[in-house]
Symmetry: C2
Subunit: 378 residues, 2 copies
């Protein structure tokens, strides 16, 4: 599998899209959800288990990996694919988001951002060029431009400044990417502009002119209400080229995914299924279930006897409750697996629904299942 | 597989033995190592992964499970086999050891022991009869008598008193077991007597008269030097019936296993492979390897390319080092798996060696491998 990056739109239903991404490490059916493998591991899960959930692509974090174990080291060890033994596609973020959220003593300049590592306090510089270089060293199938992420709320002037800087960094990222050994890999631009529709439009239009392989919408899911996020998505998507994948970064809940696909998004990543799994929450067809709740203590039923994944249909709620209460590692492992499997089931359901021209019905049925909740037979 | 418990000795080589245990949930080849599943889970590993290491039996902890989630609850949920989805044999300890090591405010009487739960402070009573009842509720294939475990060093008088009490509890355990719904299950007696050979002999002889399905040597690996432990084993084993399995509780390092099998032990359990795995130590043919050590940071070699287990021959030392340094859950999961697989490989090697009448050579070769160490090609 050494085909260069491509994207094919296979079907649409309203704004919702069904597509296929081809990468040097294989194909990804869209809409797609990418499990987050921050430090070269989806937390707690071996690659085979991640695959078992139906995932076709995972996300790696430039920021974390450049600091530990280092991009050059990973390159020498076979790239991120070889290092973590994940043979399928990988997308890496550019580090922009984590520089803003995790590091201290940032100095933001036109040239790039200098920050103090949260691990050892070393001063590290990240420029658009270095971010691309790192992602090529990691061997990402899809790399992201370096951008400046703001926390919302922020004032319009500040949002505009960050968006403009991100555009100039997009240009430099693209130039760096084009002079690198690309090997069929892709680079995505990132639309910024906070919660300001005008600025978002300006960003989307300028990036479209630059002609990226795909387009992300960044700087959302950073504290704003879902309605604001969906409005931004709804207004931004039509400004992006129809023939390129659209990636909503860091989103979200199952409901977010449903609503964003309805508005034309093709790709997602989020820590929710794994992070919340580690804290005892299961995402299911019946909605979110808090397994720490005592009502599950004697419940012999699995979370979903109809699930295609063995973990979801095998272990009793009572056992998952026990593991959660006892703070057992296996609880985190199983609930992460169960949640990723549900996310993938949801994505597969959306893909089928778009193909069948019944996305609206699927959305209604899925939400009705969540609303009906976890009806107990006890 | 609903055959009643039995033990068949298949071969011997010096004092070392090769046998087979039959239980209602299947067969166990001996010498056998039992991974520890304290709270109804081998920490971090799904049952299929435990099985992948070659384990044929796991251990569950009466003390932990009676307190959480409760023996009656587990019974209602299909017993421990159904609860944790482990279909193969299970041995449960009686709780005696954990009462001494984990609980506070113990009151030890002839009748039993009353203690304060380390979880919620509730006062709980454990008697020989209740310990058997709990283990039958859990559905253990092999149950253990309640005993009193002392920490060493202790004075002879105290050791003698605890040993005598354990003998009286053995009698009561046996009576309780015989009036229970046994379903082909087994009950083992536990030899006590600390580091006093005379008391050990007294205990072994009295238990032999009581006619248990198997015999454990308890109260070792509690702080005494390896030489003391092995001397006790060497002196005790000949006093136990030849046609019953012998189980050395809570032992040990790979070297302990080798030396104890050489002295006629058939069964072991120990937290070392999983606990030390969680802390970054791998047990291998090359000895113990501390993966936190910086020398592994760029080492692309797997821990053992000749291992039968994919985890051992697939992931690079550099990756395991990275996961360990980054405190990633997957590091604990993989090293636990790798260590259990090595323990099982060691047991399988010992079984083959006894069958082939070359146990002495196998012991020498194995120890030479450990001594040669982890030769770096870098």
């Amino acid at each position: 599998m050494t085909a260069p990056f491509s994207f094919t739109l296979k079907a649409t239903d309203g704004a919702a899209r069904r597509g296929e991404i081809v990468t040097p490490h294989g194909r990804v059916q869209t809409p797609a959800f990418m499990p987050v493998g921050t430090q070269a591991t989806v937390k707690g899960l071996a690659p085979g288990e991640v695959r078992s959930t139906g995932a076709e692509i995972v996300l790696g974090n430039t920021y974390h990996l450049m600091l530990r174990p280092g991009a050059e080291r990973i390159a020498a060890l076979g790239g991120l694919h070889g290092f973590m033994q994940w043979p399928l596609p990988i997308l890496t973020d550019s580090g922009g988001f984590q520089v803003m959220s995790l590091s201290a003593l940032r100095r933001l300049e036109e040239h790039g951002v200098t920050f103090r590592s949260h691990l050892d306090g070393a001063m590290v510089e990240l420029t658009p060029e270095r971010a691309v270089e790192i992602q090529m060293l990691l061997g990402a199938d899809i790399a992201m431009q370096l951008d400046e992420c703001l926390k919302l709320p922020a004032n319009r002037e500040e949002i505009a400044r960050a968006m403009q800087l991100s555009l100039r960094w997009a240009e430099r990222s693209k130039r760096a990417f084009e002079s690198a050994e690309r090997g069929g890999r892709a680079l995505f631009g990132i639309v910024q502009g906070g919660d300001d529709i005008g600025l978002r439009g300006e960003s989307a239009k300028a990036l479209t002119v630059m002609d990226f392989h795909g387009y992300a919408i960044g700087g959302l899911a950073v504290g704003e209400p879902q309605k604001v996020m969906l409005t931004i998505v709804e207004e931004t998507v039509p400004l992006l080229p129809h023939d390129r994948p659209r990636y909503l970064m860091g989103v979200g809940t199952p409901h977010d995914l449903l609503e964003a696909v309805a508005r034309g998004i093709d790709m997602f990543d989020c820590v929710l299924p794994t992070r919340n799994g580690r804290h005892g929450t299961a995402f299911t067809r019946h909605g979110a279930i808090n397994l720490a709740n005592a009502r599950h203590a004697s419940d012999a039923r699995p979370l979903d006897e109809q699930s295609a994944h063995p973990a979801t249909r095998t272990y009793s709620r009572a056992y998952l409750h026990h593991l959660t209460k006892a703070n057992e590692m296996l609880g985190a492992v199983l609930l992460s697996t169960i949640n990723l499997a549900y996310y993938q089931e949801l994505m597969a359901g959306m893909r089928e629904a778009v193909e069948a021209g019944r996305f609206g019905d699927f959305r209604d049925e899925t939400m009705a299942g969540w609303d009906r909740g976890d009806i107990s037979v006890l």
